[in-house]
Subunit: 249 residues, 2 copies
DNA sequence: CGGGTTATTGATGGTGTTCAAGGGGTGTGG
DNA sequence: CCACACCCCTTGAACACCATCAATAACCCG
């Protein structure tokens, strides 16, 4: 069985008539990831306020959403697929800041210009909001602002945890932290599973963890030899989660 | 001249009669760092709502504010001094998450339990709020929530920038990034200066940058030999800012 | 002063990078 | 259906950066 068919892409939105073939909802009311997203802050009677200013964008793999430095005219909620967020140095070094999955908000800061780039790793759907209109709505709906703040706080916590990983963890620990963290992230939407989809490439993982692609590859290869994980198409299956967690002690 | 006397500690609060000898304000109305803090979101007529639930705490160097995992019964605004925020691993490795300076809010996430520890590096004053009362107030004052969100967003941006430093910068670049970044941070309050106060020790800088104390010490020592910086008590003076910035290319 | 902490400096070594080559999968075109 | 190209991943060998270990120096406060 291909991992694609059990990937979290689209599975978050139930297969109703209000859902397209690719899993993107056709209306906010029928949106399956609403409860994970900012939109969930609004009641059913208010959801129209969001729907009035949203429009959906479909992305193909490798398609950019915006570039670092672009004027932030729009901000986004991911509804399906995975988006890669990254910052680039002049000499080509890259740091992947994070991976946005369905429910995640991109542009939490409501800032004038994006401080990172975003592009699609997989086929993806995102809801786009005009920043000014969204900011206006936020000004009128304290619950929306509260939700936005909760999401930003949550992101801040993830960022701080990642600082520990980048600053003080060894290579093996970093990869273990990534696999376990990513499983949780995906699991919140898809339901937890021993199979972890990895829509990002080895280079992306390396750039997220501050390592090289060779180091990531070597560590995963060793874990496969040691039967800690199993190679499956576009992902890995965790055979011995305890050994992974032990790598973090 | 000692750097202490020109340190940003207390200088943010003008030397009025409403200010104690150590620079801590005696009332919110006369608080000099209000404009940098969350409290600045409230107008003069609303400041009493804050004042009603605040009480001031004075800290000596090395005195803890709270520990990782503690129940977050209070949250804080720093009014003078520097607070170190850190996370610890079981085996003694440490990651300094950040340094909180006057105006900074500690506990932005309004979460149940702290995910990091905080302790004073210098003599410091902090305003303490009961978390529940503060959360209630935030619920009644959207402007306060908005300010809280703006501060959290700003922190998130700093965290993301720091991820790049930790993930992709070489040792020398990290130290340069720290010096320049810290100068800006201090400069926002104290006014920019070629003299950078360093209330934290070398070990703290190392734990912030994901390096060892020896590496930090060697790099600073070399820059002193090369007349890029000058050693002053509890800080450094920048002689050649361009060379520092060049280290970041 | 003297004791303890923190910082500096030197010598050595290890973890992860760099450089290099080959393997494996996928899509395309003949 | 096969051949080929391309990209990504894997694997190996050598190296470099920074960590570690160790000793001394400076500092701070009692």
């Amino acid at each position: 069985m291909s991992l694609d068919s059990i990937s979290y892409q689209g599975t978050a939105a139930p297969n109703h008539s209000c859902v397209n073939a690719d899993g993107a909802p056709t209306s906010c009311a029928g949106c399956g990831i609403k409860r994970f997203a900012v939109c969930g802050a609004l009641g059913d009677n208010e959801i129209g306020d969001i729907e009035r200013i949203v429009h959906t964008i479909k992305l193909d793999p490798r398609e950019p959403v915006f570039q670092e430095g672009d004027k932030a005219e729009s901000i986004f909620t991911v509804t399906s697929g995975t988006i890669r967020l990254q910052r680039d140095l002049e000499d080509g070094r890259r740091q992947v800041i994070g991976f946005a999955v369905p429910g995640d908000f991109i542009g939490l800061a409501l800032e004038d210009h994006f401080s990172f780039s975003a592009d699609a790793l997989t086929k993806a759907s995102i809801c786009s909001f005009d920043r000014n209109k969204f900011t206006d709505l936020v000004g009128r709906k304290p619950l929306l602002l509260r939700r936005l703040h909760d999401m930003a706080s949550h992101e801040l916590g993830i960022a701080q945890e990642h600082m520990v990983v980048l600053g003080r963890r060894r290579a093996e620990e970093r990869v273990a932290a990534f696999l376990l963290g990513w499983r949780n992230r995906v699991g919140r939407i898809q339901g937890n599973s021993v199979t972890i989809p990895l829509p990002m490439g080895r280079q992306d993982i390396a750039d997220y963890l501050g390592l090289t692609i060779e180091t990531v590859s070597r560590i995963l290869a060793r874990w496969m030899r040691e039967r800690i994980i199993l190679d499956v198409p576009n992902g890995v299956r965790v055979l011995d989660a305890d050994k992974l967690k032990a790598a973090l002690r």
